[in-house]
Amino acid sequence: MGFTQVYHYVAGKLDWLAAGGPIEGTGAGRPRAGEVARGDVPTCALDEHLGEAQGRVRAAGWDACVVVNQERVVLGLLRANELEGDPASRIEAAMRPGPSTFRPHVPITEMAHRMVDHDLENAPITTSDGRLVGLLLRADAVRTAHELHQAEGDSA
């Protein structure tokens, strides 16, 4: 073809989207999981005690806490049930390990469906290397999807 400088971005568009890279196109303006997720979710470490997390979560007005390491890689999740445990227990023992996580680029309408279908109250949103972006609440996902549907219906 006569081109001497040709490169192949092997990991492709999926990699770009999963890393939160900017995009163009008809889907560009639609809300995605990463934008709707709450970045101020309380976090805690594996070697803390549940009582410490309980205090922090309560003070912040939340009912969930994400367990992360020093690089903010998600290791587990404490939902309302787990947070009711023995304050003396270690986070590592109390948490739900390896929760299902989702990437920031997933359209919010898709997230809303999944969270309703699988009865997920909340879901950690992470980058492709597992770092926490925020916690997506089902109520936020469903509300945003509904608003989008209404707006697209109005403009049709």
């Binding site: 040709v6 568009k13 770009w16």
Partner: protein, 67 residues
């Protein structure tokens, strides 16, 4: 044979004027694509590259993923 690059490589090359080419079908390109990318679906790449692209600038091609 194209040289393989990663995300940072894409950013560096684009900063230096590289042309981005998405080889996926048009409807996928229209939905979302990397900023500034043009669409040359794979089956038309050879026939249209010379018309659409500047052969004096680097070209970065990408698909959906590595599969």
């Amino acid at each position: 044979m194209p040289r393989e690059i990663d995300r940072e490589g894409v950013r560096r090359l684009v900063d230096h004027g590289a042309q981005l080419v998405e080889v996926l079908p048009a409807h996928e390109y229209e939905e979302e694509h990397l900023p500034g990318a043009v669409n040359l679906p794979l089956r038309r790449l050879e026939e249209q590259a010379a018309e659409v692209l500047d052969r004096h600038r680097a070209v970065v091609v990408y698909c959906w993923d590595s599969a």
